[in-house]
């Protein structure tokens, strides 16, 4: 049974980097339990949150993500013993760096979702999607990716025009 689908002006793109053992299984559980959550999220499965490099998050933003979720096993549950502990420190630091260069941290969510927490997955994804929807499009990195640079400020409107003919 599908509930009435709400129409929105803006559908954010959410990229979720999840570990295969806990969060992916949790998302799977949500699916097999027929729970509803926004279809805005694209899930990418990794062996462990310890494998999720901050550069993946940058890449996601550059390629058009409006929000990013990183999710893995609860502390103590890591299949590789300490991958999520390392990830916890790394992302704590990475958040500070992003904040310093002017990225709104509300677009980035970290969570622990176990294989048994289908409900929590739905909650986390729904909250992030709605929060990002309210914030609107993430334009900063997308603009950067579109921005051509021929040589510092040498790209005047005239030159831009020549290139726009491409």
């Amino acid at each position: 049974m599908h509930s009435e689908k709400q129409k929105h002006d803006f559908e954010p793109k959410i990229i979720a980097f999840v570990c295969t053992w806990c969060t992916y299984a949790g998302a799977d559980l949500a699916g097999t339990s027929r729970m509803q959550y926004p279809a805005n999220v694209r899930v990418l499965k990794f062996p462990c949150t310890g494998r999720i490099d901050p550069v993946f998050i940058l890449k996601a933003f550059q390629q058009g993500a409006d929000g990013v979720l990183v999710s893995g096993c609860h502390p103590g549950d890591c299949h590789y013993i300490a991958g999520n502990f390392h990830a916890r420190r790394r992302f704590a630091a990475f958040r500070k760096l992003l904040e310093f260069i002017g990225v709104d941290l509300n677009r980035l969510q970290f969570s622990w979702v176990s294989a048994a927490e289908g409900g929590k997955w739905v909650e986390v994804v729904t909250d992030l999607t709605e929060r990002v929807r309210a914030m609107g499009e993430m334009v900063e990195f997308k603009d950067l990716a579109l921005e051509e640079q021929w040589s510092g400020s040498l790209n005047t409107p005239e030159l831009q025009e020549a290139y726009d003919a491409i």
């Binding site: 940058l58 502390p75 790394r90 630091a93 760096l97 310093f100 260069i101 002017g102 969510q109 969570s111």
Partner: protein
Amino acid sequence: MQSDTVDTSCHAAIAEAVRTEARRILSDGTVTAVIGYAASRRKGSTQPIVITSVDDADKLIFSAACVNNLAVYLTKAKKDVPRSGRIGVVVKSCDLKALVGLMGEAQLKREDLYLIGIPCTGVLGSVLQPAALLTTASIASKCCECTDRLPPGCDFVPSVQLPQQPRLEQRYTDEIARLEAMSPAERWEYWKEQFSKCIKCYACRQVCPFCFCEQCLCDRNRPQMVEQTPRPAGNTAWHLVRAMHLAGRCAGCAECERVCPMDIPLNLLNRKMARELKELFNSEAGFEVRDKGPLNSYQDDDDQSFIR
């Protein structure tokens, strides 16, 4: 702002002591080579030099233009420096911190090095004009906030009386505070402008003692995680990746910032990250070899207030 001259009169005695020590350790076989500074053609300019014979010890100098962190020559990325036997290396405190970091990362062994420490009155922030006088304006920003003018734990340190340092402004602290006070949008604009200047010459990477990867992530194209072209997107990603890779490791020698031909304030990112990691994990670069840095260790009770 009015600038005061920094007293560098001790440099002559330091240089003489370095030469004498280099002669001694080369002639008695303590080391096979000494990495130090030599004069270059331009007035006041210096360049790193590797000497292997006693006669060449006369070439060694020390001045406020001896800015390089010579630790870069001891990492894997630089296989060109002879690595047979023990090597003598001239270090300032900031350079020593980098060496200590490299020892912690198992790149170097203390017993393979003979450390010639420099009692430091600060060096120039830029050597575009190397003959410049060392003043409270021309001094490197890293020196303004340096509290370790004498490198500890060296094999040899010239015994000179260090002069009283004039009052210096805390440039990094002030600049970080200025940026932190901005709105996120303003900060984004600031860094966007800074990173868009980058021409991807990779001088920042090449002078960094901690950038010793044999193949940099940014030189790889399968997968291409960071765009290679010097465009705003790839530049921003490159500098963020670099700041992350250095977080918890950077020893603060500020070489990246000094060598940037486009004057991007790169060390601001490194200083900011160093401060954050100190606050988060109570860990900072120092003179004690750490088995593990803050980002390759963990504690069960690390802060996770930001994780749902």
